[in-house]
Protein backbone atom coordinates (compact mmCIF):
# COMPACT_ATOMS: atom_id res chain seq x y z
CA UNK A 1 0.00 0.00 0.00
CA UNK A 2 2.77 2.34 1.00
CA UNK A 3 4.75 1.49 -2.12
CA UNK A 4 1.71 2.21 -4.23
CA UNK A 5 1.57 5.69 -2.72
CA UNK A 6 5.27 6.21 -3.47
CA UNK A 7 4.55 5.28 -7.06
CA UNK A 8 1.43 7.33 -7.72
CA UNK A 9 2.54 10.56 -6.07
CA UNK A 10 4.97 11.22 -8.92
CA UNK A 11 2.27 10.71 -11.52
CA UNK A 12 -0.19 13.35 -10.39
CA UNK A 13 0.02 14.96 -6.97
CA UNK A 14 3.75 15.68 -7.10
CA UNK A 15 4.16 15.57 -10.86
CA UNK A 16 7.73 16.80 -11.34
CA UNK A 17 6.91 19.11 -14.23
CA UNK A 18 3.42 20.44 -13.72
CA UNK A 19 3.45 20.77 -9.93
CA UNK A 20 7.06 20.89 -8.75
CA UNK A 21 8.23 22.72 -11.92
CA UNK A 22 11.56 20.91 -12.13
CA UNK A 23 13.34 20.02 -15.34
CA UNK A 24 11.75 22.68 -17.50
CA UNK A 25 14.50 22.90 -20.10
CA UNK A 26 14.02 19.47 -21.71
CA UNK A 27 10.25 19.87 -21.28
CA UNK A 28 10.22 22.89 -23.53
CA UNK A 29 12.91 21.82 -25.93
CA UNK A 30 12.11 18.25 -26.92
CA UNK A 31 8.31 18.24 -27.00
CA UNK A 32 7.99 19.18 -30.66
CA UNK A 33 6.36 15.77 -31.20
CA UNK A 34 4.83 13.03 -29.07
CA UNK A 35 7.56 10.52 -29.92
CA UNK A 36 10.34 12.88 -28.86
CA UNK A 37 8.57 13.62 -25.59
CA UNK A 38 8.11 9.93 -24.85
CA UNK A 39 11.73 9.11 -25.76
CA UNK A 40 13.10 11.83 -23.52
CA UNK A 41 10.72 10.79 -20.72
CA UNK A 42 11.80 7.17 -20.83
CA UNK A 43 15.50 8.04 -21.01
CA UNK A 44 15.10 10.22 -17.93
CA UNK A 45 13.11 7.47 -16.17
CA UNK A 46 15.97 5.05 -16.71
CA UNK A 47 18.50 7.47 -15.26
CA UNK A 48 16.19 8.29 -12.34
CA UNK A 49 15.54 4.67 -11.38
CA UNK A 50 19.17 3.55 -11.71
CA UNK A 51 20.63 6.53 -9.87
CA UNK A 52 18.01 6.23 -7.13
CA UNK A 53 18.91 2.56 -6.66
CA UNK A 54 22.63 3.18 -6.50
CA UNK A 55 22.44 6.25 -4.31
CA UNK A 56 20.20 4.48 -1.83
CA UNK A 57 22.60 1.51 -1.81
CA UNK A 58 25.63 3.73 -1.26
CA UNK A 59 24.04 6.27 1.06
CA UNK A 60 25.89 4.98 4.13
CA UNK A 61 29.26 4.92 2.38
CA UNK A 62 29.15 8.44 0.97
CA UNK A 63 30.26 11.11 3.42
CA UNK A 64 27.81 13.93 3.84
CA UNK A 65 30.29 16.63 2.79
CA UNK A 66 30.92 15.27 -0.67
CA UNK A 67 27.50 13.81 -1.37
CA UNK A 68 26.48 16.23 -4.13
CA UNK A 69 29.58 15.63 -6.32
CA UNK A 70 29.26 11.90 -5.62
CA UNK A 71 25.62 11.93 -6.76
CA UNK A 72 26.54 13.87 -9.89
CA UNK A 73 29.18 11.28 -10.81
CA UNK A 74 26.67 8.44 -10.36
CA UNK A 75 24.05 10.26 -12.41
CA UNK A 76 26.54 11.20 -15.15
CA UNK A 77 27.59 7.55 -15.46
CA UNK A 78 24.03 6.43 -16.18
CA UNK A 79 23.43 9.34 -18.52
CA UNK A 80 26.49 8.29 -20.52
CA UNK A 81 25.15 4.71 -20.66
CA UNK A 82 21.71 5.74 -21.98
CA UNK A 83 23.36 8.20 -24.40
CA UNK A 84 25.49 5.45 -25.94
CA UNK A 85 22.64 2.90 -25.96
CA UNK A 86 20.28 5.29 -27.75
CA UNK A 87 22.98 6.25 -30.23
CA UNK A 88 23.34 2.57 -31.12
CA UNK A 89 19.73 1.41 -31.20
CA UNK A 90 17.56 4.51 -31.67
CA UNK A 91 19.70 6.78 -33.85
CA UNK A 92 16.70 8.82 -35.11
CA UNK A 93 15.43 9.83 -31.68
CA UNK A 94 19.01 10.32 -30.48
CA UNK A 95 19.54 12.72 -33.36
CA UNK A 96 16.43 14.79 -32.67
CA UNK A 97 16.95 14.96 -28.89
CA UNK A 98 20.57 15.95 -29.52
CA UNK A 99 22.28 17.81 -26.75
CA UNK A 100 19.42 17.27 -24.32
CA UNK A 101 20.43 13.67 -23.58
CA UNK A 102 23.79 14.58 -22.00
CA UNK A 103 21.96 17.43 -20.30
CA UNK A 104 19.90 14.95 -18.25
CA UNK A 105 22.88 15.23 -15.88
CA UNK A 106 21.80 18.72 -14.86
CA UNK A 107 18.08 17.93 -14.87
CA UNK A 108 17.03 19.08 -11.43
CA UNK A 109 14.54 16.20 -11.09
CA UNK A 110 17.26 13.56 -10.90
CA UNK A 111 19.45 15.33 -8.36
CA UNK A 112 16.34 16.49 -6.54
CA UNK A 113 15.05 12.95 -5.99
CA UNK A 114 18.51 11.76 -4.97
CA UNK A 115 18.74 14.45 -2.33
CA UNK A 116 15.12 14.44 -1.19
CA UNK A 117 14.29 10.74 -1.33
CA UNK A 118 16.98 8.19 -2.23
CA UNK A 119 19.45 9.19 0.47
CA UNK A 120 16.84 8.70 3.20
CA UNK A 121 14.93 5.61 2.06
CA UNK A 122 15.63 1.93 1.33
CA UNK A 123 16.33 0.48 -2.09
CA UNK A 124 12.80 -0.73 -2.82
CA UNK A 125 11.10 2.57 -1.96
CA UNK A 126 13.72 4.50 -3.92
CA UNK A 127 13.23 2.32 -6.98
CA UNK A 128 9.47 2.80 -6.84
CA UNK A 129 9.86 6.53 -6.26
CA UNK A 130 12.23 6.85 -9.23
CA UNK A 131 9.85 4.88 -11.43
CA UNK A 132 6.82 6.96 -10.41
CA UNK A 133 8.60 10.28 -10.82
CA UNK A 134 10.12 9.20 -14.13
CA UNK A 135 6.82 8.03 -15.55
CA UNK A 136 5.11 11.22 -14.31
CA UNK A 137 7.77 13.17 -16.20
CA UNK A 138 7.33 10.97 -19.29
CA UNK A 139 3.55 11.35 -19.10
CA UNK A 140 3.65 15.14 -18.93
CA UNK A 141 6.20 15.27 -21.76
CA UNK A 142 4.14 12.97 -23.97
CA UNK A 143 0.94 14.94 -23.35
CA UNK A 144 2.70 18.17 -24.17
CA UNK A 145 4.38 16.67 -27.22
CA UNK A 146 1.02 15.35 -28.45
CA UNK A 147 -0.71 18.73 -28.06
CA UNK A 148 2.05 20.51 -29.93
CA UNK A 149 2.17 17.87 -32.65
CA UNK A 150 -1.63 17.87 -33.11
CA UNK A 151 -1.89 21.66 -33.31
CA UNK A 152 1.37 22.29 -35.09
CA UNK A 153 1.61 19.57 -37.71
CA UNK A 154 -1.83 17.90 -37.65
CA UNK A 155 -0.42 14.51 -36.75
CA UNK A 156 0.00 12.29 -33.70
CA UNK A 157 2.97 9.94 -33.09
CA UNK A 158 3.96 10.68 -36.68
CA UNK A 159 0.56 9.61 -38.05
CA UNK A 160 -1.02 12.40 -40.10
CA UNK A 161 -4.77 12.66 -39.56
CA UNK A 162 -5.59 15.68 -41.72
CA UNK A 163 -4.26 17.48 -44.75
CA UNK A 164 -2.52 20.82 -44.47
CA UNK A 165 0.13 22.51 -42.38
CA UNK A 166 -1.39 23.17 -38.96
CA UNK A 167 -0.53 26.15 -36.81
CA UNK A 168 3.21 26.25 -37.26
CA UNK A 169 3.87 28.43 -34.22
CA UNK A 170 3.12 25.51 -31.87
CA UNK A 171 6.07 23.49 -33.15
CA UNK A 172 8.35 26.51 -32.89
CA UNK A 173 9.85 27.95 -29.71
CA UNK A 174 7.03 30.33 -28.64
CA UNK A 175 4.46 27.52 -28.84
CA UNK A 176 6.42 25.53 -26.27
CA UNK A 177 6.20 28.29 -23.69
CA UNK A 178 2.53 29.00 -24.36
CA UNK A 179 1.35 25.35 -24.27
CA UNK A 180 3.38 24.74 -21.11
CA UNK A 181 1.88 27.84 -19.46
CA UNK A 182 -1.70 26.77 -20.14
CA UNK A 183 -1.05 23.13 -19.15
CA UNK A 184 0.36 24.28 -15.83
CA UNK A 185 -2.61 26.58 -15.27
CA UNK A 186 -4.99 23.65 -15.87
CA UNK A 187 -3.00 21.41 -13.51
CA UNK A 188 -3.06 24.07 -10.79
CA UNK A 189 -6.80 24.50 -11.19
CA UNK A 190 -7.44 20.73 -10.98
CA UNK A 191 -5.28 20.26 -7.91
CA UNK A 192 -6.84 23.16 -6.06
CA UNK A 193 -10.32 21.70 -6.64
CA UNK A 194 -9.33 18.49 -4.84
Amino acid sequence: MNQWKNFTKGLIKENPILVLVLGTCPTLAVTTSAVNGLGMGLATTFVLVMSNIFISLLKNLISDNIRIPAYIVIIAAFVTIIDLVMQAYLPDIHESLGIFIPLIVVNCIVLGRAEAFANKNNVLSSTVDGLGMGLGFALALTVMGSIREILGSLSIFGYKFAEGDGILIFVLAPGAFIVFGFLMAIAQKLIKKK
Partner: protein, 190 residues
Protein backbone atom coordinates in the same frame (compact mmCIF):
# COMPACT_ATOMS: atom_id res chain seq x y z
CA UNK B 1 33.41 38.88 -40.04
CA UNK B 2 32.94 35.34 -38.86
CA UNK B 3 33.19 36.51 -35.26
CA UNK B 4 30.52 39.18 -35.84
CA UNK B 5 28.26 36.49 -37.29
CA UNK B 6 28.77 34.25 -34.27
CA UNK B 7 28.01 37.13 -31.90
CA UNK B 8 24.80 38.23 -33.64
CA UNK B 9 23.57 34.66 -34.02
CA UNK B 10 24.24 33.80 -30.38
CA UNK B 11 22.61 36.92 -28.94
CA UNK B 12 19.57 37.43 -31.16
CA UNK B 13 18.82 34.68 -33.65
CA UNK B 14 19.61 31.62 -31.57
CA UNK B 15 19.05 33.21 -28.19
CA UNK B 16 19.98 30.57 -25.66
CA UNK B 17 16.85 30.94 -23.54
CA UNK B 18 14.16 31.82 -26.04
CA UNK B 19 15.23 29.70 -28.99
CA UNK B 20 17.33 26.88 -27.53
CA UNK B 21 15.59 26.43 -24.17
CA UNK B 22 18.74 26.23 -22.08
CA UNK B 23 18.86 27.83 -18.66
CA UNK B 24 15.10 28.05 -18.20
CA UNK B 25 15.26 27.40 -14.43
CA UNK B 26 17.15 30.61 -13.57
CA UNK B 27 15.20 32.39 -16.30
CA UNK B 28 11.96 31.69 -14.43
CA UNK B 29 13.44 31.67 -10.96
CA UNK B 30 15.44 34.89 -10.66
CA UNK B 31 13.59 37.11 -13.09
CA UNK B 32 11.24 38.85 -10.69
CA UNK B 33 13.44 41.93 -10.31
CA UNK B 34 15.72 43.64 -12.83
CA UNK B 35 18.43 43.98 -10.21
CA UNK B 36 18.71 40.26 -9.40
CA UNK B 37 18.46 39.48 -13.10
CA UNK B 38 21.54 41.62 -13.72
CA UNK B 39 23.41 39.89 -10.87
CA UNK B 40 22.60 36.45 -12.21
CA UNK B 41 23.51 37.54 -15.73
CA UNK B 42 26.92 38.79 -14.61
CA UNK B 43 27.62 35.55 -12.75
CA UNK B 44 26.63 33.48 -15.80
CA UNK B 45 28.83 35.52 -18.16
CA UNK B 46 31.78 35.03 -15.82
CA UNK B 47 31.34 31.29 -15.25
CA UNK B 48 30.32 30.42 -18.80
CA UNK B 49 33.38 31.99 -20.41
CA UNK B 50 35.69 30.41 -17.85
CA UNK B 51 34.03 26.99 -18.06
CA UNK B 52 34.00 26.92 -21.85
CA UNK B 53 37.70 27.81 -21.99
CA UNK B 54 38.70 25.10 -19.52
CA UNK B 55 36.46 22.39 -20.98
CA UNK B 56 37.70 23.20 -24.48
CA UNK B 57 41.31 22.79 -23.35
CA UNK B 58 40.50 19.53 -21.54
CA UNK B 59 38.66 18.14 -24.55
CA UNK B 60 41.36 19.14 -27.05
CA UNK B 61 44.45 18.16 -25.08
CA UNK B 62 43.27 15.34 -22.81
CA UNK B 63 40.01 13.63 -23.79
CA UNK B 64 40.41 13.87 -27.58
CA UNK B 65 43.96 12.51 -27.98
CA UNK B 66 43.35 9.72 -25.45
CA UNK B 67 40.11 8.62 -27.14
CA UNK B 68 38.09 9.22 -23.99
CA UNK B 69 35.23 11.04 -25.70
CA UNK B 70 32.64 8.96 -23.88
CA UNK B 71 33.74 10.55 -20.61
CA UNK B 72 32.93 14.02 -21.89
CA UNK B 73 29.65 14.56 -20.01
CA UNK B 74 31.11 13.25 -16.77
CA UNK B 75 34.33 15.24 -17.04
CA UNK B 76 32.62 18.49 -18.04
CA UNK B 77 30.09 18.51 -15.22
CA UNK B 78 32.84 17.83 -12.68
CA UNK B 79 34.99 20.59 -14.13
CA UNK B 80 32.09 23.03 -13.98
CA UNK B 81 31.17 22.08 -10.41
CA UNK B 82 34.80 22.38 -9.32
CA UNK B 83 35.27 25.65 -11.16
CA UNK B 84 32.22 27.23 -9.58
CA UNK B 85 33.41 26.20 -6.15
CA UNK B 86 36.88 27.59 -6.86
CA UNK B 87 35.58 30.89 -8.21
CA UNK B 88 33.48 31.24 -5.10
CA UNK B 89 36.45 30.73 -2.77
CA UNK B 90 38.74 33.03 -4.75
CA UNK B 91 36.19 35.80 -5.05
CA UNK B 92 35.48 35.65 -1.34
CA UNK B 93 39.18 36.19 -0.66
CA UNK B 94 40.23 38.78 -3.23
CA UNK B 95 37.03 40.64 -4.18
CA UNK B 96 34.57 40.55 -1.30
CA UNK B 97 32.41 43.25 -2.88
CA UNK B 98 31.94 41.25 -6.07
CA UNK B 99 31.36 38.13 -4.00
CA UNK B 100 28.60 39.92 -2.11
CA UNK B 101 26.95 40.82 -5.38
CA UNK B 102 27.30 37.44 -7.11
CA UNK B 103 27.40 35.25 -4.01
CA UNK B 104 24.00 33.64 -3.92
CA UNK B 105 23.91 33.08 -7.67
CA UNK B 106 27.17 31.17 -7.98
CA UNK B 107 26.14 27.80 -6.47
CA UNK B 108 22.97 27.87 -8.57
CA UNK B 109 25.06 27.99 -11.73
CA UNK B 110 26.39 24.44 -11.35
CA UNK B 111 22.96 23.12 -12.20
CA UNK B 112 22.36 25.73 -14.89
CA UNK B 113 22.15 23.60 -17.99
CA UNK B 114 23.18 26.56 -20.13
CA UNK B 115 26.79 26.29 -18.92
CA UNK B 116 27.14 22.57 -19.62
CA UNK B 117 25.10 23.01 -22.80
CA UNK B 118 27.41 25.64 -24.26
CA UNK B 119 30.51 23.66 -23.27
CA UNK B 120 29.12 20.66 -25.18
CA UNK B 121 27.89 22.74 -28.13
CA UNK B 122 31.27 24.39 -28.77
CA UNK B 123 32.81 20.92 -29.05
CA UNK B 124 30.00 19.72 -31.33
CA UNK B 125 30.34 22.77 -33.56
CA UNK B 126 34.09 22.19 -33.83
CA UNK B 127 35.08 25.75 -32.88
CA UNK B 128 38.70 26.67 -32.18
CA UNK B 129 39.61 28.32 -28.88
CA UNK B 130 39.08 31.91 -30.08
CA UNK B 131 35.67 31.15 -31.54
CA UNK B 132 34.65 29.16 -28.46
CA UNK B 133 35.41 32.07 -26.16
CA UNK B 134 33.56 34.54 -28.42
CA UNK B 135 30.63 32.14 -28.72
CA UNK B 136 30.44 31.63 -24.94
CA UNK B 137 30.65 35.36 -24.24
CA UNK B 138 27.98 36.22 -26.79
CA UNK B 139 25.67 33.45 -25.57
CA UNK B 140 26.02 34.60 -21.97
CA UNK B 141 25.28 38.17 -23.02
CA UNK B 142 22.21 36.89 -24.85
CA UNK B 143 21.14 35.10 -21.68
CA UNK B 144 21.53 38.27 -19.62
CA UNK B 145 19.71 40.29 -22.26
CA UNK B 146 16.70 37.95 -22.27
CA UNK B 147 16.72 37.73 -18.47
CA UNK B 148 16.73 41.49 -17.95
CA UNK B 149 14.05 42.08 -20.60
CA UNK B 150 11.87 39.43 -19.01
CA UNK B 151 12.42 40.79 -15.50
CA UNK B 152 11.35 44.22 -16.72
CA UNK B 153 8.10 42.79 -18.07
CA UNK B 154 7.46 40.82 -14.87
CA UNK B 155 7.97 43.92 -12.73
CA UNK B 156 5.26 45.64 -14.75
CA UNK B 157 3.01 42.61 -14.47
CA UNK B 158 2.99 42.68 -10.70
CA UNK B 159 0.33 45.37 -10.63
CA UNK B 160 -1.88 43.93 -13.37
CA UNK B 161 -5.00 41.88 -12.83
CA UNK B 162 -4.29 38.25 -13.78
CA UNK B 163 -6.89 35.43 -13.80
CA UNK B 164 -6.61 33.21 -10.70
CA UNK B 165 -5.41 30.02 -12.43
CA UNK B 166 -2.72 31.78 -14.45
CA UNK B 167 -1.03 33.51 -11.51
CA UNK B 168 2.66 32.81 -10.95
CA UNK B 169 4.57 30.53 -13.29
CA UNK B 170 1.86 29.97 -15.97
CA UNK B 171 1.56 33.65 -16.89
CA UNK B 172 5.35 33.96 -16.80
CA UNK B 173 5.61 31.13 -19.33
CA UNK B 174 3.03 32.67 -21.62
CA UNK B 175 4.85 36.00 -21.41
CA UNK B 176 8.07 34.21 -22.30
CA UNK B 177 6.25 32.72 -25.28
CA UNK B 178 5.33 36.18 -26.54
CA UNK B 179 8.90 37.35 -25.99
CA UNK B 180 10.15 34.34 -27.95
CA UNK B 181 7.77 35.28 -30.75
CA UNK B 182 9.26 38.77 -30.81
CA UNK B 183 12.75 37.28 -30.99
CA UNK B 184 11.71 35.19 -33.99
CA UNK B 185 11.66 38.46 -35.87
CA UNK B 186 15.46 38.39 -35.76
CA UNK B 187 15.63 35.10 -37.64
CA UNK B 188 16.01 36.81 -41.00
CA UNK B 189 19.14 38.65 -39.83
CA UNK B 190 21.74 36.01 -40.60
Amino acid sequence: MEYVLIIITAIFVNNIVLAQFLGICPFLGVSKKVETALGMGAAVIFVMVLATTVTWLVQTYILGPLGLDFLRTLAFILIIAGLVQMVEIILKKIAPALYQALGIFLPLITTNCAVLGIALLTIQNGYDLGKSVVFATATAIGFTFALVLFAGIREQMETSDIPEGLKGTPIALITAGLLAMAFMGFSGLV
